[in-house]
Each structure stands twice: as structure tokens, then as C-alpha cells.
């Protein structure tokens, strides 16, 4: 056996995976120290199994030409890719000279040139933002959508850019408490939006949160089955558990974010929410799923689990149901296991010398399956 590093560091890395932080962020952060073990293409324009088409270069020249053709005399000073999303590309555009109401910073959300791991369209994401902005929910203000793939290589939309951070590690003490309170407040407000004022392309809202949960399990199971590169009996088994243990029969659904976390929130340095981003998983469902999602992504580590739940309740959120939180904790681990399986599907075999993306995807899938299996009570012995 190789010389093992301390158990503490091993647990830290596992906690990264357990908390839902993409394993790719760990690899990227360590790349300066990994030398030739690091595959520099990992997490960037990595080829996927089903490329949709070429991706036009996003640079100052191209984007300036596009904006000038659409708007007029503007100047772009920089175009920088940001974020580590697996389904879309996010680009920050700094304007040197703007016109009209155009802000000084824009964000371009563009379809990736390959099939993403989340099967929701960019148009759906944009339409959700438009509707939520109309309802006064603090989301990045969407500006316009471009369906013409000839402009920048893929469909894209433009939204308002914001200066802030999404790094939870920056928040401690009173600032972390403020952020927790803000985030809980935003969730409570979101869950109060009357669902008959919102539309999704999938159709009308489900009758209750139990029906919503069944729909989601079936939806993501079908997506996994369509893209699976190997049989995963535990994924199948967990899907059945989720179907059989659906909670909340009779309770009305709300509009939910689906992917709650500081990593998907633009925050000020002093702990205020500027905007809630990444709405690809948004749907009609159980508000408890949003709380469970936040806890799964580590929001409880800001100022404590109970503090987060108390803030949500004090902000007028839905009553807390612990058994439903536990259910959606299993659901989140299962869901992410399905996503990481799709990530495996897009990876090419490596020679074992570099830190291969499939390695981290496989590991993340196994860790999340084990978490879900423990939560479902299949075993207490499926150790990390």
C-alpha cells in the first residue's frame, strides 16, 4: 500500500465530495502542486460523448462585434470564463463603454458545445429567471435571449453581472450568520410565490408535493437510464426506495430552487445575498427539498443547521418536516450520483498517469451512492 497521508486530510477530501462540492474544484485547486499528474484539459473544454457542435471563441473581439451589431457603440474590455458548471458556460464581460441601460458588467450564459449533465434547456433557465424577477425574487436580472447559434456558436442569454462572491469559506462568525439569515429569507419568499403565476414547459404544477417527488424521481431516473454507460444496481435500488417512501401526501407544492447553496448564490463580502443563481433544477415541489438541498451543500456549516432552519421558519417559511428533510437528503445524494455518472460518460479513458476526470467522477458517484444508501437505511456498514 502507498504511504497514506493523514486520516484528517483524507476525510477533508472526502468531505469535499460528501458536502457536494464538485470534485473537479479540488483537482483544479491542487493543479499547481500536481505537476504532470494533472490533466490541464480537465474541467475545461473537455470532449464529451455527444458533441453538439463547434463552439465559437469567446473573446473581446467577437463579443464586441456581436454587441455593436445588436446595440450600437459599446466597448468591451474583457471576456473571462468563470464558474465550474458542467452544463453551461458562464462568461463575465466587462464593459468599457455602455449605452442606455446596459450595465457595466454582463454575464453570458451559453450552452456548452457538448451535452450537459443536466437536461434542462437554456431557454427554460432564462424563462424561469424572467418570471422570478417579475415576482420580485432576487435573481440575476435577465436581459435578452439569443436563439441564433450562429452568433456565438451556441444559444446564449445575457444577464446583469454582479460583483460578489460565491465562496462559502469566506464567511465566518457574524457575517456567516447574516448570510444564513438572508438566504433563509430568500427561500421563504420564493416558497410564497403563488405557483399559478409561474409556468414551466413541462406542464402544470403537480397536485401535491408527493406527486412532485415522484415526477422528479422518474424524470432523473429516465435521464440516467438514457445516459448510463454501465449498470448501477444500487442506483436502481435507491430509485425504488425513493418511490416507495415519498412523503408529504396532500401538501401543496411550491416553486423551488432545487440547488440551494452558497456556491449558487452571489453574495456581498459582508454576508448579504445579492442574487440567487443556477436555476437549472428549479421546479414545482416540496419546500423541504430546498432546505435539504441547502444542508446537503453545506449551508448548515455557516452558522449551524438548526440556526438555518430557525431563520427559515422565522422568515415565514413552510413548517419544517424532519422526515422530509431526511428523504430529500437521500434524493440529493442519489441525484448527484446520477449526474456524476453522466460525467463519466463524457470522459475518455486515461493512462492512469494524470488525474483523470473519470477517476473523480467515479469516486463522486460511489461516495454519493454510499451516502444515499446509508440514508435509506440499506446498510450502516457502507463506509466512506
Amino acid at each position: 500500500m502507498p504511504n497514506a497521508t493523514s486520516g484528517t486530510t483524507r476525510m477533508l477530501l472526502i468531505e469535499h465530495c460528501e458536502s457536494g462540492s464538485p470534485a473537479v474544484r479540488v483537482g483544479r485547486a491542487l493543479s499547481p502542486w500536481l505537476g504532470d499528474r494533472w490533466d490541464p484539459t480537465f474541467g475545461r473544454e473537455h470532449p464529451r460523448s455527444t458533441p453538439k457542435g463547434p463552439s465559437r471563441v469567446m473573446d473581446v473581439q467577437h463579443f464586441t462585434a456581436y454587441l455593436q451589431s445588436r446595440i450600437g457603440d459599446v466597448e468591451v474590455t474583457s471576456v473571462t470564463r468563470i464558474g465550474g458548471g458542467a452544463s453551461r458556460e458562464t462568461w463575465l464581460v466587462a464593459m468599457g463603454r455602455t449605452t442606455g441601460d446596459l450595465p457595466e458588467e454582463l454575464v453570458v450564459r451559453r450552452d456548452a458545445p457538448y451535452t450537459g449533465v443536466v437536461p434542462t434547456t437554456l431557454r427554460r433557465e432564462y424563462d424561469v429567471l424572467k418570471q422570478l424577477a417579475r415576482e420580485g425574487i432576487r435573481v440575476p436580472e435577465p436581459l435578452w435571449f439569443e436563439d441564433d447559434t450562429g452568433l456565438l456558436g451556441q444559444r446564449f442569454y445575457i444577464r446583469h453581472g454582479y460583483r460578489g462572491t460565491s465562496d462559502q469559506a469566506r464567511f465566518r462568525g457574524a457575517v456567516a450568520e447574516r448570510l444564513t439569515r438572508d438566504l433563509a429569507q430568500e427561500l421563504a419568499e420564493l416558497h410564497r410565490v403563488p405557483i399559478d403565476r409561474l409556468e414551466l414547459p413541462e406542464g402544470p404544477a403537480p397536485g401535491d408535493v408527493a406527486e412532485a417527488a415522484i415526477r422528479e424521481v422518474d424524470r432523473w431516473y429516465s435521464h440516467w437510464a438514457e445516459h448510463a454507460v454501465e449498470p448501477v444496481p444500487m442506483f436502481e435500488q435507491l430509485a425504488w426506495w425513493l418511490r416507495r417512501h415519498v412523503p408529504g401526501h396532500g401538501d401543496a407544492p411550491a416553486f423551488i430552487w432545487g440547488d440551494v447553496g452558497v456556491a449558487n448564490t452571489i453574495c456581498s463580502e459582508d454576508g448579504h445575498v445579492i442574487a440567487l443563481s443556477d436555476w437549472e433544477l428549479a421546479t414545482f415541489g416540496d419546500p423541504m427539498r430546498d432546505l435539504a438541498s441547502g444542508l446537503w451543500r453545506g449551508v448548515g456549516q455557516l452558522a449551524g443547521r438548526e440556526f438555518f432552519l430557525r431563520c427559515y421558519a422565522e422568515a415565514g417559511g413552510h413548517p419544517i418536516h424532519e422526515e422530509r428533510l431526511a428523504y430529500y437528503d437521500v434524493f440529493m445524494s442519489w441525484l448527484v450520483a446520477g449526474f456524476t455518472h453522466a460525467a463519466i460518460a463524457g470522459s475518455a479513458p486515461g493512462d492512469g498517469r494524470s488525474l483523470h476526470p473519470a477517476l473523480l467522477s467515479i469516486w463522486a458517484q460511489r461516495v454519493n451512492l454510499a451516502k444515499a444508501a446509508r440514508g435509506a437505511g440499506f446498510t450502516a456498514s457502507t463506509k466512506v
Binding site: 500500500m1 502507498p2 504511504n3 497514506a4 497521508t5 493523514s6 486530510t9 483524507r10 477533508l12 477530501l13 474544484r25 479540488v26 483537482g27 483544479r28 485547486a29 491542487l30 499547481p32 502542486w33 500536481l34 499528474r37 465562496d167 469559506a169 469566506r170 454507460v229 454501465e230 449498470p231 448501477v232 444496481p233 444500487m234 436502481e236 435500488q237 425504488w240 416507495r244 463519466i344 470522459s347 479513458p349 486515461g350 492512469g352 488525474l355 483523470h356 473519470a358 477517476l359 467515479i362 469516486w363 460511489r366 461516495v367 451512492l369 454510499a370 444508501a373 440499506f378 446498510t379 456498514s381 457502507t382 463506509k383
Partner: protein, 127 residues
């Protein structure tokens, strides 16, 4: 990404390099683990009366034991998944878990535990 403190980053990098070595060693031991898993799955499938299509003699002369072991394990896993789905569909969910379904569930758990000890890019892709 925020700048990492060098000490922490070096510690994490050391862990990742250890894991790469671990992967290399696991690849050396992957064949017996896959064989063990395949045998476990096929044993339970036989016990519950599911047909076992693989007769255990195909490609025994194939020198690429790793590819053979992976292919057989994928086949066993696929049959396990199919049998599991059929048993779950047949059970209404009331009362005690039928013995056959319980047996399949337990082997799925053992399989997950074994799979988590096998990390390598080629394993999941069956190459």
C-alpha cells in the same frame, strides 16, 4: 477559486498522489475483486432462480484477464439490475420484504462496497 494556503494545498496534493498510486495498485488487484463480485452476484441470482447465461468457460484462454473480468462483471451487474427491477415492480411495498428481493438488495450493497474499493478510469467504461 480562492488562493489556497500552500501547506494545505501540499497536503491535499500528497493525498491525491497517494490516491493515484492507490489506483495503480487497485488496477493490479482489480481482477480478483471483479471475479469475487461476479461470483457473488451470480450465486444470488441462481439462488433466486434467475437464469445465469454465462457458463464460466467463455474466453478462459483469453490472456486479457482484466477485460474478461470486466466484461463478465458488467454482464452480471446488468442481470442483477434487471432482476432487482423486476422484483421491486412485483412487490407492492406492503409487509415484509420478500426473501428474493432482500437477497438482491443485500448483494447490491456488497457490490457497492466492492465497487468503491475499485477506482480506475477503465473500470466504469468496461475497456
Amino acid at each position: 477559486m480562492p488562493a489556497l494556503q500552500e501547506g494545505f494545498a501540499r497536503e491535499q496534493a500528497g493525498l491525491m498522489l497517494s490516491l493515484l498510486e492507490h489506483v495503480r495498485l487497485r488496477l493490479e488487484h482489480e481482477v480478483p475483486l471483479l471475479i469475487e463480485d461476479t461470483r457473488d452476484v451470480e450465486r444470488v441470482l441462481r439462488e433466486i432462480g434467475e437464469p445465469v447465461q454465462h457458463d464460466g468457460s467463455a474466453a478462459e484462454d483469453d490472456s486479457d484477464w482484466l477485460s474478461v473480468a470486466r466484461a463478465r462483471n458488467r454482464d452480471a451487474s446488468a442481470r442483477l439490475q434487471t432482476a432487482l427491477r423486476a422484483q421491486e415492480e412485483a412487490w407492492a411495498g406492503d409487509g415484509p420484504v420478500p426473501d428474493q428481493l432482500a437477497a438482491l438488495r443485500s448483494v447490491t450493497v456488497r457490490q457497492l462496497d466492492r465497487q468503491r474499493s475499485i477506482l480506475g478510469p477503465g473500470y466504469a467504461l468496461g475497456t
